[in-house]
Symmetry: C2
Subunit: 353 residues, 2 copies
């Protein structure tokens, strides 16, 4: 029997903290009984919630702290106030110390990134972190990164994103050689975009065994599932994610008001209720909750701050799978191969251009 | 009675050319009888379609050319082959010569931008063009720019985009002082993004009478209608637009398959058919067809290449309104004020920071 997956939870993170974190983790535990938890936060509050979830209680150890990072703290404030003491820091630090395999927090994104970077440090050859998420598509799911950790990217960083995203897709979707596309805009010969074109040349030249580079993908290719992994720098990645969420909400609103307009459409709604439920499930952002911070010496998963227990459970599931299927080892293996490939890339590039 | 609006049409542009352009223009003419058209393209083909639309025929003059820019031509090819001879070039040139007030083409975007820029030249103080479009929102409509003309933008260019977008919103939505937001990502203290922050300071310091700067807007704010004008550089603007289109298509597909799954939901669909029709109308990208090329000494409107006659009619409508309500004059007035405001901005910026 393999070792248990040890998950460090920031029990105070998110809009409502332990009352979502503990029931959420309990749901994930029921799906993955080979998990154990370190819970960081206010013991009195945590114990109240653990009392309602005996299986979770049996799988958990509580480490008390009464310092919590607020959702409004700036990253610099969070570091100043919460370093070495806050529930968020301690959860990340447990990964650094080897006491946990992954940390999961619903706390504020900026603070989490700053603390994770400060505590865990970057992997050799990667200069800044990325956030990767799972994006539901018409075909199935895709990994999209960077969703907003780092603004701008040169060709080397885009290539590293492609490698890390590919490792994540191998873990999550059980693929040998995921397809990878670079997000780009359709108009040719527009000024700018040199770094993206250069990254495409590098990825082609590297011809990695675990990464099938398919070229450029436009924004509407994401929802089509044009590639298993979609790569872009953090500004446009975040804009794409939020715009898609906004569009989904907008259409829900149109649909609601259209269905309420006449007695006919209200009857139609009654008949089609089950269909609408399945549509809502498909569109539920909670089902793709769990952004993975990539590029660090350790795995940290970010849950939405406003999620419910079901949504938080998905984020814990993501953390579980990243550990169980060895994300970090896969990234490091690909990066080592990459490390050399990146160094020799200029030569390789000359060969193809 | 005011002068007629003179519209130059690239009758060969788009996936199917005259068979969409002429019926589309005829629809727009029925809504705006004070229009006259210059039709550039193959006279034999044009005449066949004009014969079916007598009112359109009466309002049109045909200028023959058998050179057409292909949808696959690269901008440089299009310029080499089609300069001074193609239907696209001649339509733009009619604006330059003062024979038309606006040119409308469904031809390829890259070629249209290159020709418009080459023929009309940039407005003083603007260094590269932008494409602005109308984005349907929950609240009403917003102007979003740049949708992909120019990758990257410094603070001065973002400020110019804000001014031009605001002028367009005044024309289209009949607003005295449109609200303007800069697209940004939520995470604070992320590296990069200095130019966006600087643009925000400049817009605040300028405090223009016809532009109400409201600060940063995230991607999900576009669909909410968070501002009348949303400003971003062309890469992220194009990604946002295409991602929203892809998401809308994805949800349509989910909805279709959900409604087809059981006899109950199929009955529901029959009852709610009218509601679904109004939903489809709301989501119809044709209804927001017509991207306006901004920053040039003249007005050029780009229609989707794959649009139908109704969609092309909307693009012609946009061209009509831009002329009737003096877009260029408004932009120039604001830019002149801006011109000085931009020069004094560094001082103003120091004053606020």
């Amino acid at each position: 029997m393999p070792q248990k997956v040890r998950i460090a939870l920031d029990a105070m993170g998110g809009d409502i903290g332990a009352s979502v974190v503990i029931p959420g983790a309990a749901i994930s535990l029921s799906r993955h009984p080979d998990t154990e938890f370190l819970l960081f936060g206010d013991r009195a509050v945590i114990d109240v919630h653990l009392a309602k979830h005996p299986a979770m209680k049996a799988a958990s150890r509580v480490i008390h702290t009464n310092v919590a990072v607020s959702m409004n703290d700036k990253p610099s404030q969070a570091l100043r106030r919460g370093r070495k003491t806050s529930s968020m820091w301690l959860a990340i630090d447990a990964v650094k110390k080897g006491e946990a395999d992954v940390a999961v927090s619903a706390g504020n994104t900026g603070a989490l990134m700053a603390m994770a970077r400060f505590c865990l440090r970057m992997l050799p050859g990667i200069d800044s972190p990325a956030i990767a998420g799972v994006w539901p598509t018409v075909r199935s799911d895709s990994v999209v990164l960077d969703l907003g950790a780092t603004i701008g990217a040169d060709a080397e960083h885009l290539t590293a994103l492609a490698v890390m995203g590919s490792a994540m897709a191998r873990v999550l979707f059980d693929l040998e050689r995921p397809t990878v596309g670079l997000l780009n805009i359709g108009v040719e010969e527009v000024k700018g975009g040199e770094q993206i074109r250069k990254a495409a040349e590098m990825l082609r030249a590297m011809d990695l065994p675990n990464l099938d580079f398919i070229g450029f993908v436009e924004g509407d290719g994401i929802g089509k599932g044009a590639a298993d992994v979609i790569v872009t720098e953090g500004f446009s990645g975040n804009i794409a994610l939020k715009t898609a969420e906004g569009t989904a909400r907008q259409i829900s609103e149109y649909l609601r008001s259209a269905m309420a307009r006449s007695w006919r459409s209200r009857i139609g709604y009654l008949f089609a209720r089950q269909a609408f439920k399945s549509l809502r499930d498909k569109m539920d952002p909670g089902k793709s909750n769990g952004g993975v911070l990539l590029g660090l010496n350790g795995i940290v998963v970010k849950s939405h701050g406003g999620t419910d227990a079901d949504g938080f459970a998905y984020a814990v599931d993501v953390g579980y799978e990243m550990v169980r299927y060895d994300l970090l080892t896969k990234i490091n293996q690909m990066l080592n191969r990459d490390g050399s490939a990146l160094v020799t890339a200029p030569a390789a590039q000359e060969a193809v251009s």
